[in-house]
């Protein structure tokens, strides 16, 4: 009996220890919001600018098709170069034909094979409910919408099921022409009414989409459906089978970029009505893959969608092992094809004398901003001078280099470099001990006794706060004599606390949902934004953001966002910590064209297995 109970206790203790041990990685993954893929540049958004009713198809479509058709990097480069050199449409068409011919040959040699990776169970496979990156990565392979993201930095948003679109002079009415050959994976055609039905369904309260307002709420009538006052949106008009007209409430140039997010994808009415609540067991979409099988906690298998309207995927199957296990050992035993490199094995694997080092692949830095946020209504963070003092006191360069191994770059504002709207001339609150002391003396909390207790909360279950956070605390203590207590809470608790503004100071990361500055500057800092976690409020910022929302001139729009960002940085409701995490992963040598985009996503359609070499 004694021993038996000890067995129980020991078992439980191990379980807890392990749970803590293995989930310590999780917090870093979970707080980062779902991401997509794109390295946008200001001019790249497929949005018409001055001329009323610009026919965008001529400028957008060829490039998009060329990229879609030429999946091999080699051919893609040629095509893109050709595009750059010769803008004449005829040349592009000739080029495309060549590319297509080359494509067919190439397709045959690359077709086939299975790609195996370790995954975790998606929260949902319903595009309308997708908000986390695990679900996002599967949903974007199985479903599709009017627009999609690419890994091409110059063309982050391209047409998917839309063949072209036009925008009215006022910028509020979008007319989408759908591809005639667009079909669902079950072979039935995709029509404009499918889109209308899909969007209205996403908005229905019964569907329970938590993000529909953010992504489709701009469309006239959608919010009435969400609130239960209507079942149809007047802003969505089916002109004919292949023409969809969408009216939005204000000329918002970033609307088109939002149409890359899963909640805007087209779903099959038949599929959902006959499938009931578990329709996603057998989902019908328009993506390059179909869900072949899914056993919760065991395995999820994607197979090539033979009815895909673009260039089909090369891979026969993608197998996600959901049961977990020792990733590194599974990789070395060829049970999975890619894996991250655990810290403990890092030196061995990157050692050039080890054969495995040849399988190491660099991952480009992600678009993500890590920061420490302050609740600007909670003392002592209600004093801008105090917040600024804390900003000046942090040597981010040292932290990026010494604590984070140079895999990140120090951040000075919300928008990461390379992202649309990034301002290289931003005036920042970089490390400056003197200014830090100055600001502290100006604040009403200069005297240590007047300062309330400060608790900084980080999400995680590692038991102790991350090293970089401890380093920040140390810098504050040394430079300013400001003492901070740390507390770590697991994600569920953290989310509840932050949603209710109960955290005084916290560490978190944000990454964009779509390639537009709106996704950084607006949603996090507008005073009435629902995810403004710092309760930051500035009338001037609000005014600039409102103006930027509907500004039709892209250059002017970026300027407005940058002005707002400058004020936000000056008022220091954040200590921006670092941008991106570049890293290394292991990829089996027979897996080709597995590219991770700066947004953390990948495109399984491009991946192929080289069976000749191995």
């Amino acid at each position: 009996m004694k021993f038996a109970s000890r067995l129980l206790i020991v078992g439980a203790a191990f379980a807890v220890m392990f749970a803590i041990g293995c989930s310590s990685e999780e917090p870093t993954a979970t707080p980062i919001p779902p991401t997509a893929t794109a390295v946008p540049q200001p001019t790249a958004t497929a949005v018409p600018t001055e001329a009323p009713a610009v026919e965008t198809s001529s400028s957008v479509a060829p490039t998009a098709t060329a990229i879609a058709a030429a999946t091999s990097t080699a051919v893609a480069e040629v095509t893109v170069e050709a595009e750059a050199a010769m803008t004449a449409e005829e040349t592009a068409t000739a080029e495309m034909k060549e590319a297509e011919a080359a494509d067919e040959e190439e397709f045959d040699s690359r077709r086939g094979g299975v790609f195996k990776l370790l995954g975790s169970d998606p929260t949902t496979l319903d595009p309308a409910l997708t908000t986390d990156s695990t679900s996002y990565d599967i949903v974007t392979e199985v479903f599709g919408g009017l627009m999609r993201l690419t890994d091409n930095p110059n063309e982050p948003v391209v047409l998917d099921l839309a063949e072209s679109f036009t925008v009215s002079a006022e910028g509020t009415v979008y007319r989408f022409k759908l591809r005639e050959d667009a079909v669902f994976s079950d072979g039935s055609p995709v029509t404009a009414s499918d889109f209308k039905w899909s969007w209205e369904r996403a908005a229905l309260p019964e569907t329970g989409s938590p993000i529909v307002k953010e992504f489709l709420g701009d469309i006239v009538g959608i919010n009435d459906i969400v609130d239960g006052n209507a079942t149809s949106a007047s802003g969505i008009t089916v002109v004919d089978d292949h023409t969809l007209e969408v009216e939005i409430d204000a000329p918002k140039p970033y609307f088109i970029a939002k149409l890359t997010y899963p909640v805007t994808y087209v779903v099959s009415r038949d599929n959902i009505e006959s499938g009931g609540e578990t329709w996603t067991d057998d989902p019908v979409g328009t993506g390059p893959f179909v869900l072949k099988s899914y056993e919760i906690g065991v395995e999820l298998v994607l197979a090539r969608n033979e009815n895909y309207s673009g260039t089909p995927a090369f891979l026969d199957e993608v197998r996600f092992n959901l049961a977990g296990g020792s990733a590194m050992a599974m990789y070395e035993n060829d049970e999975i094809d890619i894996t991250g490199i655990p810290q403990a094995a890092y030196e061995r694997i990157t050692d050039p004398n080890e054969p495995i080092s040849r399988e190491v692949v660099d991952v480009p830095p992600e678009f993500v901003t890590w920061y420490i946020g302050f609740n600007t209504e909670s003392p002592p963070f209600d004093d801008v001078h105090f917040r600024r003092a804390l900003n000046y006191a942090v040597d981010k360069e040292l932290i990026a280099e010494a604590v984070l191994g140079g895999r990140v770059s120090p951040a000075y504002g919300p928008t990461p470099p390379g992202f649309i709207g990034f301002n290289p001339d931003l005036e920042t609150l970089g490390f400056d001990a003197e200014k830090a002391t100055e600001e502290l003396n100006m604040s009403k909390y200069a005297d240590a006794d007047s300062r309330p207790r400060i608790v900084l909360t980080a999400p995680g279950t590692g038991g102790s706060p991350p090293a970089w956070l401890v380093a920040v605390g140390d810098m504050w203590a040394r430079t300013l004599g400001v003492d901070v207590e740390f507390q770590e809470v697991e994600w569920a608790t953290f989310l509840e606390e932050i949603d209710n503004y109960r955290l005084q100071a916290f560490s978190l990361a944000w990454s964009p949902d779509y390639p537009d500055p709106h996704t950084f500057v607006d949603v996090l800092f507008r005073s009435d934004s629902q995810i403004n976690q710092t309760k930051y409020s500035n009338a001037e910022v609000d005014r600039l953001l409102d103006e930027a929302t509907t500004e039709q001139d892209p250059a002017r729009r970026i300027q407005l966002y940058q002005q707002a960002e400058q004020i936000i940085v000056d008022e220091a409701s954040w200590v921006p910590m670092w941008w991106g995490t570049s890293g290394k992963i292991l990829v089996k040598p027979w897996i080709k064209d597995f590219n991770i985009s700066p947004l953390g996503g990948y495109f399984l359609k491009d991946v192929w297995v080289d069976e000749i070499d191995f």
């Binding site: 779902p34 056993e295 977990g324």
Partner: protein
């Protein structure tokens, strides 16, 4: 005996009711809101409120619990929060089967090593063999699973390449060997100690001397008198330790990538999947209660001197 058993069985639901109440109340005390988790980082408060309504989380606590109990009586343990539209039972059953298989095969390893070894050591008390065997098993017992498992993987899966690193395809597959050894061998120490102690106990008893005295063969005495009597106290812990093993198998499942209840329950905790947690708890409580009952019954089967009275 029959009356005793049925009375014990009748008490089980009462026990479950209170165990359930306890766990259910924890769900309202612990921080973290399943609705917020479902909605994600960028949901608006209205959306979260709609989810709370749908899940019935806005009702008073007792209403929620009584609704849960009445559904449970109808065999409906609710739908998972995390896996929308999925019955908890439907989620649990296949995973439970795997965990059960793993535990049974490990238990087998434990017994097959522990009991003979304990007996063997007891018979060699006073020689160097007894303390050597005991110390060795103690060492094995002391090694944490998160050390032994990766070590075994390294040797048998990576260096020797005999067995796959991960997965599960039933008791009679090579994939079962490493997890069974990892989980089963350390437990053997417990049974070895028990068996050794109780064998020594029996060895000193008069009936053993008598058996020897009347000229019975060594093997016969060992088997019929010593081993059989030494097993009685062991029986009492059999049930309990099987129930206890489920706790330990958690880590083994995670390391070897076995799709058992481990990951499911771990996720249920982090995702605040209360229906799933409730089902798991109720299952655990039921198992312990039944193990307890089983132990009592085993007593009377093995030792005729013990009688269960209602």
């Amino acid at each position: 005996m029959l009356i005793y058993v049925s009375r014990r069985l009748l008490w089980t639901p009462v026990l479950l009711f209170f165990a359930g109440l306890f766990i259910f109340s924890l769900s309202s005390i612990t921080p973290g809101d399943p609705a917020e988790l479902m909605a994600g980082q960028r949901a608006d408060p209205e959306a979260i409120e709609r989810i709370r309504d749908r899940l019935g989380l806005n009702d008073p606590f007792m209403v929620q619990y009584l609704r849960y109990i009445s559904d449970a009586f109808k065999g409906d343990l609710g739908e998972s929060y995390r896996y929308r539209g999925r019955d908890v039972v439907e989620l649990l059953a296949p995973r439970l089967k795997v965990s059960l298989e793993l535990n049974i095969v490990s238990y087998f390893v434990t017994l097959i090593i522990g009991l003979p070894l304990g007996f063997w050591a007891a018979m060699r008390q006073g020689t160097w063999k007894d303390p050597t065997a005991t110390t060795f098993m103690l060492l094995v017992y002391a090694l944490p699973v998160f050390f032994t498992a990766p070590f075994l993987i390294l040797v048998f899966a990576l260096w020797l390449d005999w067995i796959p690193v991960s997965g599960w395809s039933g008791i009679f597959s090579t994939q079962a060997i490493l997890p069974a050894v990892t989980l089963g061998v350390p437990g053997a120490f417990v049974f070895m100690r028990y068996m050794r102690a109780s064998t020594l106990d029996v060895l000193g008893q008069e009936f053993v001397r008598t058996a020897h005295g009347k000229g019975m063969g060594h093997m016969t005495v060992n088997r019929r008198h010593i081993a059989r009597n030494a097993l009685i106290p062991i029986m009492t812990i059999l049930g309990f330790s099987l129930a206890g093993m489920f706790g330990g198998s958690l880590i083994v499942e995670l390391i070897y990538g076995i799709p058992g209840v481990a990951r499911l329950s771990l996720e249920a905790v982090f995702q605040r999947d209360y229906p799933l947690l409730m089902a798991l708890t109720i299952l655990g409580t039921t198992m312990l209660a039944l193990a307890n009952l089983f132990t009592d019954i085993m007593y009377s089967v093995i030792d005729p001197r013990i009688r269960l009275r209602a």
